[in-house]
Symmetry: C2
C-alpha cells in the first residue's frame, strides 16, 4: 500500500497556518503520508477580491473571533503564542526562501522557526537579518541561501507557487492539497491526511 502525497500550502502571516504547520508534519508521519511544504502569498489572492488587507482586518467581528480562537487553539495544542504587533506581517522574504528551498533538508525546521519568529517572538519576516539568523539556526548557509532566493531564478518560485494556488482555487490559508482535492483550514488537516491514505491505497 502506498499513499498519495499531501501538499501543505501555507502563508507565514496566517495565524491558522501557524497552528496547522506545527501539526501537519506529525499527522503525516503517523499516517505514513509523504508531505511537501508549499509556501505562497495570500496578498495577491485577497487582491483578486479587491481586498487591500486580510479579511480579519476588514471584518471586525471575524477578526475579533480569530484572535480569541488563536488563544484557545494554541492552548489546546500547547503552542507558544504572542499576538504579533503587525498583522498581517510582511513575510515575503521568509516565503521567498521557503519557496526557493522547498526540498532542502532544513526546510521543516526553517518553516517552524519562521512561524515562531512571527507568532512567538514578534520578529520581522521580511528582514535579511532575521531570516539569516533563522537560517543559521537551521544549519543552513545563510548568505548563500538568501542570495539564491533573492538574486537567481529561484526568486520566481514564490510567484509560481502563488500562481498555482490561484489556479487551484485557493482563497485562504492553510490548505492541504491531495491530487486535485483542496482542504482548507486548520480543522481540515485530519480529513486531508485520511484522504491521502485512502487515495493512495
Amino acid at each position: 500500500m502506498t499513499t498519495a502525497t499531501l501538499q501543505f500550502w501555507f502563508e507565514f502571516a496566517s495565524p491558522y497556518s501557524y497552528i496547522a504547520a506545527m501539526r501537519i508534519e506529525g499527522l503525516c508521519r503517523e499516517a505514513g503520508v509523504p508531505m511537501v511544504w508549499r509556501p505562497f502569498l495570500l496578498g495577491p489572492i485577497f487582491a483578486l477580491r479587491g481586498w487591500p488587507t486580510s479579511h480579519f482586518n476588514l471584518n471586525e467581528r471575524r477578526g475579533k473571533y480569530m484572535w480569541r480562537d488563536m488563544e484557545r487553539l494554541t492552548e489546546k495544542y500547547r503552542l507558544p503564542w504572542n499576538r504579533p504587533s503587525v498583522f498581517p506581517r510582511n513575510a515575503v522574504l521568509a516565503a521567498r526562501v521557503a519557496a526557493a528551498f522547498e526540498n532542502a533538508p532544513w526546510i521543516s525546521q526553517f518553516v517552524a522557526s519562521a512561524f515562531y519568529a512571527n507568532f512567538r517572538d514578534d520578529e520581522d519576516l521580511n528582514s535579511d537579518v532575521v531570516i539569516a539568523k533563522l537560517l543559521r539556526a537551521c544549519g543552513a548557509d545563510a548568505q548563500t541561501v538568501l542570495s539564491a532566493a533573492v538574486n537567481t531564478h529561484r526568486r520566481n518560485c514564490l510567484r509560481r507557487n502563488t500562481t498555482e494556488a490561484i489556479e487551484r482555487g485557493v482563497f485562504g490559508a492553510p490548505n492541504c492539497v491531495v491530487g486535485d482535492e483542496l482542504f482548507w483550514g486548520e480543522e481540515a488537516l485530519e480529513d486531508a491526511v485520511a484522504w491521502a491514505v485512502r487515495r493512495g491505497a
Copy 2:
C-alpha cells in the same frame, strides 16, 4: 459534577449548520452537556457588512469550495445531500417557528426535518404548506403553532435571537455558545462540547 449549557446557534439556509445540527445533539448527549436550539437569521448580519447575499455567492472561490466540501462532509457523516436549487434559501418561516418554540418537545425533530427539507428534499422553508407538513410529522398541532409563531408576541422571538447573535459577535453559522465563549463552524463542535464539560466542572 455539572456541565455548562451549550447553545447551538444556527440558520436553516446554512449548509454547515445542517451538518452541525445533525451532529450536535448526539455529541452533547454523550458528554452529558445540556443543549438548547437558538435559530437566527444570517441576512441581517451579512447586511451589517453591506453584503446583499451569502459570501458563498459573493466569493466564487469560497462558494465553489463550500459545495465540494459539503459533498465530502455529508459522505463523512453519512447524511443525505442534494444541493438546493435556491441558495441561500429563504427560511424565515421555519426559523420563526423554531425560535418561537425553542423548548417544545418536538423542537429537535422539527429542526432536523426542516434541514432535510432544504438539503435533501429541496423544499421551500418559507411556505406555510411545507412547514405545516413538517410540524404535523413531528406530532405538533400545525395550525396552532403556525398561528402562534406568526400572529402573537412569539413572532418577536426570531428577531430577539438575531439581535442577541449580533450582540454576541456572531458573523456566520453555525455557532456554539458556552457562557460568553463563541465557537464558530461545524469543525468546532467538539471543542465547544469539551469547553462546556470543563466550565461546568
